[in-house]
Symmetry: C2
Subunit: 361 residues, 2 copies
């Protein structure tokens, strides 16, 4: 696979976002959020999605010059209306408000409506780290997931991210879909013509299947847990909490009404709210105890877990965030690999907007 530098892909994305009419600052931020997915190894949420955003813009479903506004607030809570803008830009706007509130009052919580796909959840939660805050980020997404005992797709892969700063150690960063496996992992199996593990997918009748095309053929992704015996009702509950915090609190669409990311599927014609929803939060660690005490114990927590005895067949015990940080270090030095079809797709975008596509490393 050809590899590209972070800066080149970011710059290319910046130019494309400029071409659809985003102001400089938004194009800069949007590009950074998008490519941070690639650098952290979450390829499904990075530059591979750029043409998807553009198609939504072509379809009039993304507003490149939104008037993003805080429409309701209390000292520690708020609702942001994203005015149909890029989630990549709307979510950081909301997170900044949450952090400003946390600075003043200890914690801040902002629910967002009228937004679009916001990239990786972890980008937004990690914004809190540099200010010694715990960051939280979640979003709802187009319905692909069936509740336990249901045949219907009512929930998205609805991720949760929690970022917790430490002292000497790198931060704890959880960033996870509330399904057993993200859709991107199924797509890899589809390309390889391989079966999916049991617990990832149910078929159209709601029965467990190993068919990696099960979702495309009318089935659904399964909530974390995979089946009732192994706790899928817990994954279903977590995904529901994300949906409610992101959309029922803000006035966005929820459940089956969440508009699809792909432009070839029309949004429901009976919306219950505006756009998709996010939920962002921040808590100052020194709103609970002196910063140094927190950092010392967090370092001890991390070392204790990392140094615990590893099982046969595994390399080491990981702290949430370890794999993405290792990937980021590797890709920032050696470049970000792009699949052939993604390159082709991006070159078409380059042509469409007469923007230069970077050379590979």
């Amino acid at each position: 696979m050809n590899k590209y530098s972070f800066d080149d892909l970011k710059n290319f994305t910046f130019n494309v976002l400029k071409s659809i009419g985003c102001p400089d600052e938004d194009a800069q931020l949007g590009a950074e959020v998008l490519i941070s997915a690639d650098s952290r190894g979450i390829d499904s949420h990075g530059v591979a999605r750029l043409s998807g955003y553009v198609r939504l813009w072509d379809a009039g479903r993304i507003n490149a010059t939104p008037d993003i506004k805080l429409v309701h607030e209390t000292p520690t809570t708020g609702v942001v209306d994203g005015d149909g803008g890029l989630g990549l830009v709307v979510a950081p706007f909301a997170m900044k408000i949450a952090m400003e509130k946390a600075k003043q009052y200890g914690s801040g919580w902002v629910s967002v409506r009228n937004s679009n796909h916001y990239g990786i959840a972890g980008y937004h939660s990690m914004m809190a780290l540099e200010q010694d805050m715990i960051g939280m980020s979640m979003t709802n997404a187009s319905p692909l997931v069936a509740p336990t005992f249901s045949k219907s797709r009512l929930l998205g892969t609805n991720p949760i991210s929690v970022a917790i700063p430490a002292g000497q150690e790198p931060p704890f960063v959880a960033d996870m879909a509330t399904t057993t496996a993200a859709n991107g992992k199924l797509e890899i199996l589809q390309r390889k013509q391989e079966e999916a593990p049991l617990g990832w997918v149910q078929d159209q009748a709601g029965q467990p299947t190993q068919n990696a095309f099960g979702v495309k053929e009318g089935g659904a992704l399964l909530p974390l847990g995979g089946n009732r015996t192994n706790g899928s009702h817990k994954g279903y509950a977590l995904s529901s909490i994300v949906d409610i915090f992101s959309a029922v609190l803000s006035g966005a669409n929820y459940g089956p009404w969440v508009p699809p990311f792909v432009s070839f599927l029309a949004p429901p014609d009976d919306p219950v709210g505006s756009g998709i929803g996010h939920f962002l939060g921040a808590m100052r660690v020194d709103a609970f105890r002196p910063k140094e005490d927190f950092f010392n114990h967090m370092d001890n927590w991390i070392r204790t877990f990392r140094d615990s005895e590893v099982i046969d067949g595994a390399d080491k015990v990981l702290i949430p965030g370890d794999p993405e940080r290792a990937m980021e270090a590797e890709r920032l030095s050696n470049g970000i690999p792009l699949l052939g079809p993604v390159e082709t797709d991006l070159k078409a975008l380059a042509d469409k907007f007469s923007v230069k596509f970077p050379s590979s490393l």
Copy 2:
């Protein structure tokens, strides 16, 4: 099985808690929290544990007359020191503070140290409902759970509860251990001499096992997900977040240092904090949007999910909280069944303190 009325079991518990020296008000509250587990069908966390609390008190590890204090606060955050008291009493104290802060500032978040087992997580989160708030509750617990890839028990079953009010519909109440299955379910299989499903337990070497006695024989419970392929790293991350919010924020013990609930196991002699930790939170729904709008959409959310098409072999699609509410209605009318060994245990307590044990219904 003999059945007992809620009021009789609560009154019996009140008398036992009085006998160990709890003030009237604490004994009343502690009894209510404990028996609410039995009425909601979470038998492992109810009156069956009463003798366990008493043994900890006998061992000098529970303070019946604690001076529970808010030791640090900002407008929206705080830390409570439980002074070694019953978690059943300490947690509601902290939750009230979180709700008071939410009333004034929109949201409130309290981390608790120096506490003990707090009963069911759902009791505390549900306190928020009557004030039209979303309630959150979590606690760490004695180490029984191994992180993904680790042989060591470093986490408790660390439950999370989120309670969300609705309008016409009953509330959404998630209350779940962050493991595939709670330890109580394993105990049932042990009594029946049956095997555990794969994904619940690993053996001493950290390999998957169906041995229901696997944890007792040096193994560990598995985080929600059950194995890496099916997302156990997500359950591990969730359980870790509970541990950090409950203990690293407050100054309680975390990870392998959390003191055991059973009196025959000594607490670690190198504690990193005080007692066990909880984390309680509340957000006013009208701190985000008008109450009526929230309630209408929450009702619509609940009905949409409940009315979705059910898979063959299941009865209906459930909303988190449905099973416990149905159980509560049944048990409040028909009584709470107690296993023979639990009755024997409670009768011994009755003798110990010369307290009357109630007649069965």
